[in-house]
Amino acid sequence: ATAAVKTKACLALDTGGVDDKSFNASSWAGAVKVKSSSISVEYLPAASSADFAGNIKKFVDNKCTIIIGVGFAISGAIIASAKANPTISYAVVDDGAYDCNADYSVCNPVANVKGLTFATQEAAFLAGYVAAGYSKTGIVATYGGAPYPTVTCFMSGYKQGVDYYNTVKKKSVKVLGWDGKNGEFIGDFQNTTKALATSKAFEQAGADVIMPVAGGLAAQTAQNSMTSKKSVTIWVDTDGYVSANQFKSVLLTSVMKGLGEAVGSVITDVSKGKFTNKSYVGTLANKGTKIATYHDLAKKVPSKIQNEVRAIAADIVAGKIKVSA
């Protein structure tokens, strides 16, 4: 047996930084997890999208064996670099990484780039169903940080889940904050005051379940749920019960996005020499996205609902239920 090939995994982060309590953070966490004697990991932050190309270039010069761009925004720079350096493996988080021609009539995967995307709407669908089933007031809510597809797909799946609940149960649970194309957005991922005011406003409008899709701002909503006791919160990206344990008493469930795992597995693939450019889509089926258990609130969620959710999950996996982004 020959010594394992030394793998050097390098993450080019999106703006927002490694501590964004969101996709940058979980991608980096995933990389760190698989760190080993034969695998080294490092990252570069970006102050703005102007840094992307430069960061990737640094990695190329530093002889990285796999370069992972985090966020759809960096995709272009990754593809450009990949075509210039065919010997290096690349991956992009939250983007299919297709190389299109001028008028986007033909788009092809690039030989050495793997796209990592997530059908989070599928898990969000389940969360929506749970929320609808849990809600006493018949009103549930969601809001986003900014109207990015990676944000809105959560909200969209959530709404579809509620609508599905309404059709099967002949109920009319209302969703605030997302009507299918428009919704409530804070405008950034910093303004805690506004996030808090928004959460309060949702409660005053009668919502008793709120799903914030706004990175760090989610803490404000959970915080508010704790103080007001008028609502519960659905966490996203990670299992809030673990990552934000101080709020455990008000976390109904979490819509988990397997970013870390995906990033980790790409890196291990490379170290095992099994890297392919076959793009990865995290789904309920491959557990790339899922909802967390109800933890402390388990007894508050009717077991009937819990079972139905399992069934629906199966249907989505089987393709009986289609969930659009």
Partner: protein, 422 residues
């Protein structure tokens, strides 16, 4: 030979405003009342908690309501017109007009939905709190003759200090205690450079903001996030229900079930309003802000007064900063003041450099912002990105002399040199 009658700027402005009002009225008739297809019910709720008297929610047909209140607006417009004819101020009539138009607008915007009026006002106040603190800080500085663009920085510093100390001690009060000091520290910088070194105050304020944003963001990345359990998870103040008052319908839940910081705010507003015009402190503050050399000629040490007041302003803004962390969210996050310092500045100008004016303006901005939220969660056709712009647009309109030509204190921003020739 011609001899046209002069029209003063005031008269011009009045006629202009009347025209605008009339146009708005037509718009409200057409857009809010006539155009909408079928009429849906609008529900206005006034109850939030367990007030004594439960005001029944008020349900009205959207089209009907829009017609009624647009009509009512016409009446007030008439009154305003008559007053203008007599060269009187539009004052109350304009206010009543605006209110009617607003209700007509709400009937249209919230058609088929339920609006919690109390909640709307409560939320508005909530968003206004940092603005009020900020604008009062600006007021004290500028009435003393020092322009304060650094409000943002003062708020941010206060938020940071309160968050960290509150977290380290696991005691919100400790945080509340240091926040003003942090604000004052920033003021110390402002005062030293503005008064001692006579640096251009607008530039100075801007640069101080950059400095504070840099320092707090740096520290929060390098220290807070490394171990947020110790450094960045402060307990927060719980709301205090004032025994009797908090049960008053409408008023109670809005004003009397708040955190200690808000109650402090009430006191501060009252104190500043009174003392600005009725105390030695206020008299001297205004004197050094208007004609410092005259103040000096009666033995007042102008720069000492200015220096002290700038520090006091820092205390006020710093306290306001505490609202962001120990007052609401518990944890500090980068640039969490999100430009509120600048809106506070606009509120100060909009409020014509008077405490009550600034407070009113701040409340208006807060209200506009909350209204945005409330409407967009009940669902409006307007894209959210535009809804987000609302407070900024309101601010621009506000400072565009819409409230009449505002005059800053005469020596605002002009450094004072002893024995300088006048």
């Amino acid at each position: 030979m011609k001899n046209k009658q002069v029209v003063s700027a005031l008269a011009k402005k009045r006629t202009r405003n009347l025209v605008i009002m009339a146009v708005l009225n037509v718009v409200s008739f057409i857009l809010f009342a006539y155009l909408p297809g079928k009429s849906q019910n609008v529900t206005f709720n006034f109850v939030l908690g367990d007030e004594w008297v439960i005001i029944h929610s008020w349900i009205i047909g959207s089209k009907f309501g829009a017609y009624c209140f647009s009509g009512l607006a016409v009446v007030f417009l008439g009154v305003a017109f008559l007053r203008a004819r007599q060269g009187k101020k539009l004052g109350a009539s304009a206010l009543a007009y605006a209110l009617s138009i607003f209700i007509a607008f709400m009937c249209w915007a919230a058609a088929g939905a339920a609006i919690s009026v109390t909640g709307l006002l409560q939320g508005g106040l909530f968003l206004a709190i940092p603005l009020v603190f900020g604008s009062l800080s600006g007021l004290i500085c500028e009435r003393s003759g020092v322009i304060n663009i650094a409000i943002e920085g003062q708020l941010l510093a206060g938020a940071f200090a309160a968050g960290v100390v509150g977290s380290l001690t696991q005691n919100a009060w400790a945080g509340l205690l240091v926040a003003p000091l942090a604000g004052a520290l920033i003021s110390l910088l402002l005062a030293t450079f503005a008064i001692k070194y006579a640096v251009d105050q607008v530039i100075l304020g801007f640069v101080i903001n950059v400095l504070v944003i840099g320092l707090t963001s740096f520290a929060s990345q390098r220290v807070l996030t490394t171990d947020s359990a110790t450094w960045n998870s402060s307990p927060i103040f719980s709301t205090i229900q004032i025994p009797v008052l908090s049960k008053i319908p409408l008023i109670g839940p809005i004003f009397f079930s708040q955190t200690i910081i808000v109650y402090m705010l009430y006191v501060i507003v009252a104190v500043i309003q009174l003392s600005l015009f009725k105390s030695k402190w206020g008299l001297r503050m205004r004197a050094v802000g208007e004609l410092p050399v005259a103040a000096e000629s009666v033995g007042i040490d102008v720069n000492k007064v200015r220096f002290r007041n700038v520090l006091i302003a820092g205390l006020v803004a710093g306290l306001g900063g505490a609202f962001f962390t120990v007052g609401s969210s518990g944890a500090f996050s980068r640039q969490m003041t999100a430009g509120m310092g600048f809106i506070a500045l606009a509120a100060l100008i909009f409020g014509k450099w008077t405490p009550l004016g600034a407070v009113a303006a701040a409340l208006l901005f807060g209200f506009a912002d909350q209204l945005r939220t409330v409407l967009s969660i009940t669902g409006t056709p307007i894209p959210s990105e535009f809804m987000v712009m609302v407070p900024y647009i309101v601010t621009i309109i506000a400072v565009s002399g819409f409230v009449g030509k505002v005059r800053a204190p005469a020596s605002d921003g002009i450094p004072y040199k002893r024995g300088g020739s006048h």
